[in-house]
């Protein structure tokens, strides 16, 4: 299979941007280990059971919280859909009752962190992202600049934003423009 290249390779230019001093925001990228969508119908949980077991997951999870194991991170994005980041090839679990789709080339991960990361998010989405409302391990599906994204709160001030690859550059630009007033550090390697 073709090598997965970063759509952000031209954008990830290390440096300090905006006002001098301590940066409120840090932006970088991360190569996904592999991204899969598992989708099914009414019997989704049963149909997905063997794939879940192979990933070390005991349930399909909730719509609010990501599930992380040694080899995977899973987001329950709809009643009968699971998005899974894993280096394992899940194609073998494709069946009559489970549609497995390789999205590894279709999403780019932007890493947003820093003491002002939540301030930046609250400028871009109309959702409460205060520490009490958007906790570590939680995720949101929403739109940034009219592009559908998934935002995962990895740590108190660390977020990963999954952006469609074809919109990764413009998503990055929106984040960068809005981050500048806080002082911004870009790291080419996470």
């Amino acid at each position: 299979m073709a090598e997965v290249l970063s759509a952000l390779s031209k954008k990830l230019v290390s440096g300090h941007y905006g006002p001098a001093g301590d940066a409120g925001i840090r932006l970088s990228g991360r190569r996904l280990r592999g991204l899969w969508q598992l989708a099914g119908w009414a019997n989704f949980e049963t149909a997905a059971a063997s794939a879940l077991e192979a990933l070390g997951l005991s349930t399909i999870g909730t719509f609010q919280s990501a599930q992380a194991t040694q080899i995977a991170c899973a987001w329950r994005i709809a009643p009968d859909k699971l998005l899974v980041e894993s280096a394992h090839d899940l194609g073998a679990f494709n069946s009559q009752d489970l549609a497995v789709l390789n999205l590894s080339h279709a999403r780019e991960a932007i890493i947003l962190s820093g003491p002002a990361a939540r301030d930046l998010l609250s400028q871009l989405i109309a959702i409460d992202v205060s520490p009490a409302a958007f906790r570590r391990g939680a995720f949101l599906q929403t739109g940034i600049h009219h592009v559908g994204v998934l935002i995962h709160c990895v740590e108190e001030t660390d977020f990963e934003i999954l952006v469609p690859t074809t919109w990764a550059e413009s998503g990055w630009e929106v984040l960068l423009e809005n981050a500048l007033p806080f002082g911004l550090e870009v790291h080419s390697n996470a």
């Binding site: 719509f63 994005i77 109309a126 599906q141 929403t142 739109g143 009219h146 559908g148």
Partner: protein, 88 residues
């Protein structure tokens, strides 16, 4: 402004959704021979002042189709279900 309580995503701003269609319309039986019911099904819609059932799509969210009960006069919303469950 309308805020919609998506069963998957929780309470969200209207800007994440798009209106789909009137959710009160039922397709006639496929062996229906009269033209009247087909005319109503394809073209004729009520435009009520007050409560109405509507399909909305959470396009910038979970991408699920929803059925809302919306008051066309006040924009109040009193119910929101996944369309897949609304017929149950």
């Amino acid at each position: 402004m309308i805020r919609i309580n998506c069963p998957v995503c929780g309470l969200r701003n209207e800007t994440e959704f798009t209106y789909g269609a009137d959710a009160t319309v039922n397709r006639p039986a496929l062996d229906e021979q009269e033209t009247g019911p087909w005319l109503d099904y394809v073209f004729n819609r009520d435009n009520p002042r007050g409560w109405h059932k509507e399909y909305w799509h959470h396009v910038q969210g979970c991408r699920q189709w929803l059925v809302l009960e919306r008051n066309t006069l006040t924009h109040e919303i009193r119910g929101c279900r996944l369309a897949r469950e609304a017929g149950e």
